[in-house]
């Protein structure tokens, strides 16, 4: 098997809420004991509902927030132990594409400076050479050199996301975290952006971590998928494995909730009872057990670990395996 590009081991992020004078401190377990392996060239999807820790996972992997505990290995090197300057230099190899391009691009900078910023930071390109390189990048993402001196407010959302993509790819990174790259865009533009990302991946041999709550989008782009619930990874498998052979009750419920674009189609739907517990005090044992139809007494006391149920399909459930 090939060498992993990115590996997370027991990655944990707890946020401490400082209470008032008389309330005790509370801990939000945004990310709890997450293990992941991403291989070069693949698109690794991460799905889960709002607040399940998807975005925190992406940020911790790139050390945009400091994880509380755990390791992130990038080509075998633990990013969490790098000193500030080494980490700063390593950043050219991994980039993040943000959800909302209206917020992720500085409104006071023109396109040349926005797309040129990573190049100025990590290379000696300046002046005309820089402008030419930026123009080439713009053309690659479907814009043109005419846009070099324009400002973000002069573009549409889809064009802005293209600018953000050019910026993320300016340094030929190896690994890109795509944090809901299309959810701030119109449906008609979403497909264009997804196809652009796919083309660029094929062309540049990129590895993606694709974070989304949109199951059909994740199914469309991913090679493998991790399903998250309350800060934990509950199942990891190939796209087929997750969509056609889900083992975890939560994954099964999630998959059955995706609409099928066919009014004649009928299938059994798993309707979950209750709502997601607060990450402030997650239930003991398996965090899904209060809503699980198949829960065993064991589920309320012992936390299940991810186990391989064959072909690298990992499930964290006492019922499976």
């Amino acid at each position: 098997m090939t060498e992993p590009l990115v590996q997370a081991r027991q990655l944990t992020k707890h946020y401490v809420l400082r209470g008032g004078l008389f309330s005790r401190r509370q801990v939000v377990r945004a990310l709890h004991w997450v293990d992941l392996t991403v291989y070069p060239g693949e698109t690794f999807g991460v799905v889960g509902e709002s607040g399940c820790g998807k975005t925190t996972l992406g940020r911790c992997l790139l050390r945009l927030v400091e994880p509380t505990f755990g390791e992130v290995l990038f080509r075998g090197e633990n990013l969490l132990q790098l000193d500030r300057e080494t980490l700063r230099q390593r950043r050219r190899y991994f980039q993040m594409l943000f959800q909302n391009p209206y917020l992720s691009l500085d409104p006071r900078m023109n396109v040349l400076n926005l797309v040129g910023e990573p190049l100025v930071t990590h290379t000696d390109l300046r002046g005309r050479a820089l402008a030419e390189r930026v123009a080439a990048l713009l053309e690659r993402v479907g814009l043109s050199a005419d846009h070099l001196y324009r400002y973000p407010h002069e573009f549409s959302g889809g064009q802005l996301q293209r600018i953000a993509i050019a910026r993320a790819l300016a340094l030929n990174p190896l690994f890109v975290v795509l944090d809901e790259p299309t959810s701030a865009l119109d449906v008609s533009v979403q497909a264009q952006i997804l196809n652009l990302l796919k083309d660029l991946q094929a062309e540049l041999g990129l590895t993606y971590l694709f974070i989304s709550h949109d199951l059909s989008v994740v199914q469309h782009v991913s090679d493998r998928i991790a399903v998250m619930y309350l800060g934990r990874v509950v199942e990891v498998g190939t796209t087929e494995g997750i969509f056609y052979d889900a083992r975890h009750p939560y994954t099964q419920a999630l998959i059955s909730s995706t609409p099928i674009p066919d009014p004649q189609a009928r299938r059994s739907r798993v309707i979950l009872q209750g709502s997601v517990p607060s990450p402030l005090n997650p239930p003991p044992g398996c965090s899904f057990h209060p809503r699980c139809a198949q829960a065993l007494p064991l589920c309320a006391t012992e936390e299940p670990r991810l186990v391989d149920v064959g072909d690298g399909h990992l499930v964290a459930c006492h019922r499976a395996g």
Binding site: L62, L64, R88, Q89, R90, R91, R92, Q95, M96, F98, Q99, N100, L103, S104, L105, D106, P107, R108, N110, E117, P118, T121, H122, L148, Y149, R150, Y151, H153, E154, A164, R167
Partner: protein, 304 residues
């Protein structure tokens, strides 16, 4: 000659066309705001009067303070449009020369306050933690005193003079900029372009210089414009109580102080410097208001 620089000009215009368009829209909105235009005209008139004072009045040496006792207390006339003061000096000349000190105090106080307050606010807001605590507690200490009282205390300790009055007023002023910039920085830090810049590997200092400061400059500029008026007023107050500019150097506040005992019988001694202070500080306030509306494209349309 023009043909030589023309390509460069065209290139520059091409690269800055978005900004030029923005400035054009702002200029239009400004011209539509009659009050703001009037304020700017008043300010420019006083600036012009202060800068060219020696050439505008036939009595420049009186403006600088030389007495002419035989012309004491003359009411306004053709020869002395605003009358003469207790030492026989032309009041118009004194008001023009006094504008030099009063306007300098206004501008310098605000420049010092912005120069000190802005970086501190950006550091406090961006890094947070103990640095934020330290800087904000320091501003709290300064803001805990009534500002004029603090300025009086500092000026009294340093000794009355133009420079000391300016330092004293600036010291009471910078915490407002620190608070303003800190609040702006806190909200900018949550915008993902700051996180995006860090994710690219841009250093912390560069993030502040390249992304934070340019984005806080508009509110700072608005605040600074409005504050020039208040700083002139405070500077005049300092001179009025004798802690600012010392005679024979003229200053509007000091002129009011010296003329106040003749207030009933010779009102022109106090009225005209008072009017100058009033007009200038009001104009700066109105101008600041207008800049705030114009700088924000969302409120720009409201200006009719």
């Amino acid at each position: 000659m023009t043909t030589l620089i023309q390509p460069f000009l065209e290139r520059w215009a091409h690269e800055h066309r978005s900004q030029l368009e923005e400035y054009r829209l702002m200029g239009r909105a400004f011209l539509r705001d009659r009050l703001a235009v009037a304020s700017l005209v008043v300010i420019l008139l006083f600036l012009f009067g202060a800068i060219f004072a020696p050439w505008l009045t036939p009595y420049p040496e009186q403006g600088r303070g030389e007495p002419k006792m035989e012309e004491q207390f003359q009411p306004p006339s053709w020869q002395h449009p605003l009358g003469t003061d207790e030492l026989g000096r032309d009041v118009l000349a004194r008001v023009l020369f006094g504008g030099r000190t009063s306007l300098s105090i206004g501008f310098l106080v605000v420049i010092i306050a912005v120069a000190v307050g802005t970086p501190l606010g950006a550091l406090a807001g961006y890094f947070g933690g103990w640095l934020d605590e330290a800087i904000m507690r320091l501003t709290d200490i300064f803001l805990a005193f009534p500002s004029l009282l603090l300025a009086i205390a500092i000026a009294a300790a340093l000794g009355p003079s133009f420079t000391n009055a300016m330092i004293a007023v600036a010291l009471t002023w910078w915490p407002w900029y620190t608070r303003l910039v800190r609040a702006q920085t806190l909200s900018l830090r949550e915008r993902s372009f700051v996180e995006a810049a860090r994710g690219i590997g841009v250093g912390e200092g560069t993030v502040i210089l390249r992304h934070i400061l340019p984005n806080v400059m508009t509110p700072v500029l608005v605040q600074a414009t409005m504050d020039i008026g208040s700083a002139i007023l405070t500077g005049a107050a300092m001179s009025f109580i004798g802690l600012g500019v010392q005679p024979p150097t003229p200053d509007w506040g000091q002129m009011i102080n010296l003329g106040r005992i003749y207030f009933i019988s010779r009102p022109w001694l106090t009225t005209f410097p008072g009017l100058a202070i009033f007009l200038v500080s009001l104009s700066f306030n109105l101008l600041g208001d207008s800049i705030r509306d114009i700088a924000d494209p969302r409120t720009r349309r409201a200006v009719r």
